[in-house]
């Protein structure tokens, strides 16, 4: 029996658990490759704790080399930005086309501020986390320079932005400085959150004297300065972007069916246009099935991903597949 080549694009939160499971219970006849740019995944749920200092940044990293060794999986450090689904090939810089039989995509989303001049150069997106952490540590170690009031702006007041604001506020205080933190959004603060959560978080933000700026249109960003359309300038020692969570562009250059840029999948995590493509985590959206973009969903999808990939492999050989329609529903209980 010829082996099937499973290629995992992105060492995200679903894939790390999938790999762990594949290491413990290998699927027979499956040859696995993980393609991802970095050798570590920052475990998102613990990022705030690391910012606060309860854990070291080392402790919140999941080592993808160890994990792929455990899963007997080949690991390639590249960012995928081109695939051909007819030929079932992935194109990587410098390499010959990389073939696959089954694809699973778990690449998360981007947090680059779109279309704001200077944003790329003078603000730091929270993702990739590794880059953010690098810059954050540099910032913290430079705080030794005498300066009492630390000004910092966070653009994007969704759950992530609010959480960051509170953590950073706490951290700066614990370093004996006075934080002055702006939380900026072009719409409402915590606008996407359910009413109860929103009220609670607004209360917390106020209690911690976070400066809230909603309905703000940023016109440009310069070194240490955010220019607002009404010509106000917010000066900041550090500008972070937790806004503009956007699906990766290259997905739209594939034949995959997308919705608003996210891979449309059914409840068995399969692309609705290509049954040999699975997708999970922030980069995918289940059709007619509202889920939020959060690590918790990516994590909970993993056992179903394992199950359904296994089913897919078996189906192809023994032509019998258990309907997996129901399986996924339990994720969003």
């Amino acid at each position: 029996m010829a082996e099937k080549k499973l290629v995992l694009i992105g060492g995200g939160h679903s894939h790390i658990l999938l790999l762990k499971k594949l290491g413990m219970k290998p699927i027979k006849g499956l040859n696995i490759t993980l393609i991802t740019p970095e050798p570590e995944l920052v475990y998102t749920g613990m990022l705030p704790a690391a910012i606060l200092g309860s854990y070291s940044f080392d402790q919140i990293n999941i080592d993808l080399i160890k994990l792929s060794n455990f899963a007997k999986c080949r690991i390639i450090f590249e960012a995928v930005n081109k695939i051909n689904l007819n030929k079932k090939e992935i194109y990587l810089d410098d390499r010959i086309p990389f073939g696959f039989d089954i694809l699973s995509i778990d690449i998360g989303i981007n947090y680059q501020l779109p279309n704001i001049s200077g944003a790329e150069k003078f603000s730091i997106p929270v993702k990739p986390f590794s880059n953010f952490i690098h810059n954050w540590r540099k910032f913290v170690s430079n705080l030794t320079i005498k300066k009492n009031i630390i000004e910092l702006s966070i653009v994007g007041a969704g759950a992530a932005g609010c959480e960051l604001a509170l953590c950073i506020n706490h951290k700066i205080k614990s370093l004996g400085r006075e934080p002055k933190i702006y939380l900026i959004d072009k719409k409402e603060i915590a606008g996407n959150l359910p009413a109860k959560a929103k009220n609670k978080i607004l209360e917390l933000l106020k209690e911690n004297k976070i400066i809230l700026r909603n309905n703000i249109n940023i016109s440009s960003i310069a070194k240490g300065k955010i220019h607002i359309e009404d010509s106000e300038i917010i000066s900041s020692d550090l500008i972070l972007s937790a806004a503009g969570g956007k699906p990766h562009n290259w997905l739209s250059e594939t034949d995959l069916n997308l919705k608003n840029g996210f891979v449309s999948i059914n409840q068995s995590l399969q692309s609705i246009s290509h049954d040999f493509v699975f997708a999970s985590g922030d980069c995918a959206s289940i059709i007619n099935f509202p889920t939020q973009k959060a690590g918790v969903f990516a994590v909970r999808a993993a056992p179903f991903l394992y199950q359904n990939i296994q089913n897919y492999v078996i189906k192809k050989t023994i032509k019998k597949v258990q309907s997996s329609e129901k399986i996924f529903t339990s994720i969003n209980y």
């Binding site: 010829a2 082996e3 080549k5 790390i16 762990k20 290491g23 040859n31 050798p39 570590e40 475990y43 749920g45 613990m46 705030p48 704790a49 606060l52 309860s54 854990y55 402790q59 919140i60 990293n61 999941i62 080592d63 993808l64 080399i65 160890k66 994990l67 792929s68 060794n69 455990f70 007997k72 999986c73 080949r74 690991i75 390639i76 450090f77 410098d94 390499r95 010959i96 073939g99 759950a159 609010c162 959480e163 509170l166 953590c167 706490h170 959150l193 359910p194 109860k196 959560a197 609670k200 978080i201 917390l204 939020q292 959060a294 690590g295 918790v296 969903f297 994590v299 909970r300």
Partner: protein, 374 residues
Amino acid sequence: MFWGDVTLLGYIPWLIKDFVDRSFIKKFIVKHSMNSSLVEKHIEQEQELCGACGAKVGNKVLESALEKLPKNVNNMLNKIGDDAAIVYLNQGNHVFTTDHLRKFCSDPWIMSRITAVHALGDIWAMGSIPLLVLSHITIPELSLNDQKNHLDDIIDSADQVFKKEGASIIGGHTSKGKELTIGFTILGHTNKNPITLNGAQDGDYIILTKPLGTGIILAGEMQGLAKGLWIKNAHDWMMKSQGLISKFLTNKVNSMTDVTGFGLYGHLKNICKSSNVSAVLSIDEIPILEGALDLSLKGVRSTIFEDNLRQANTDQINSDNKKWPLLFDPQTSGGLLASVPKKHIEEVQSKLKILGLSNSVIGKFVKGGTTISY
């Protein structure tokens, strides 16, 4: 909830961190993943293989991997695919060397690249340029499809390295075996006298062109102690070609070698013995790979470490500096080690800085004695 003041965030549904705690991370601490078990995916074998011709990889698989190589090659009269290559040699001196490596990482493409650079080290150390290459590859029993993919990757990756240096793969042999092994035999050329171990002078500076520690990092990986970041960084260094550096150094050094299996100490000792000089190392100046010292302090050693240490047994081994074990760490695709006379040292140092080596000068040679002190 585990992190103090911000507990109330639990009101945000996606921040309910019941699944998020240290035990989650702990699930990912993989114990002891021995390398040998990495990607050995054996398919069931219907019949025992004969180790001689049975070990040969099917013609089709090989042909398709070789297909992508150029048909006409300098210094070669016939075309790839004949029983043997007919080569003609230019005037001058020729150097001829071979090297191979056993599987140490899960990606054959990277492994092939590193092996190519590793094998080229000998050519570069002689101040020569590579011309022709034979490959010898052993691949494990995979399904046919995989064999093809692996071979394609291996040949393509190595070919890119050699092409960049002006050399061509013109043939080789591929067989099936227990684990992936990649090797290259390289013929190189120089119009001048090749640079040897003999020639280091009293007062010459000792330079090293790559950080030490690949042996410790790879041993650390096998013991599950090396971080992914360290491993990837070590791979990146091992893949770094030294063709440019070698060309640049050729007329500025008195002797040169590449640091490989014997470690810095062993290879430096070879220069000392051949040139009848002693080496005084500034151990703090010696560049080392990120993570290598951490692992070394934990007692991680390559299996060849003891051999290397034993080789030096008549010498007084000084273990005052915590970096000392790195001197005996065997290197894969290690740096060039050369003696540079004073008149060139500034130029060499600043050139190497441009090429990304912040410190390359690691000591000095002094008259007589063939000892190494640090």
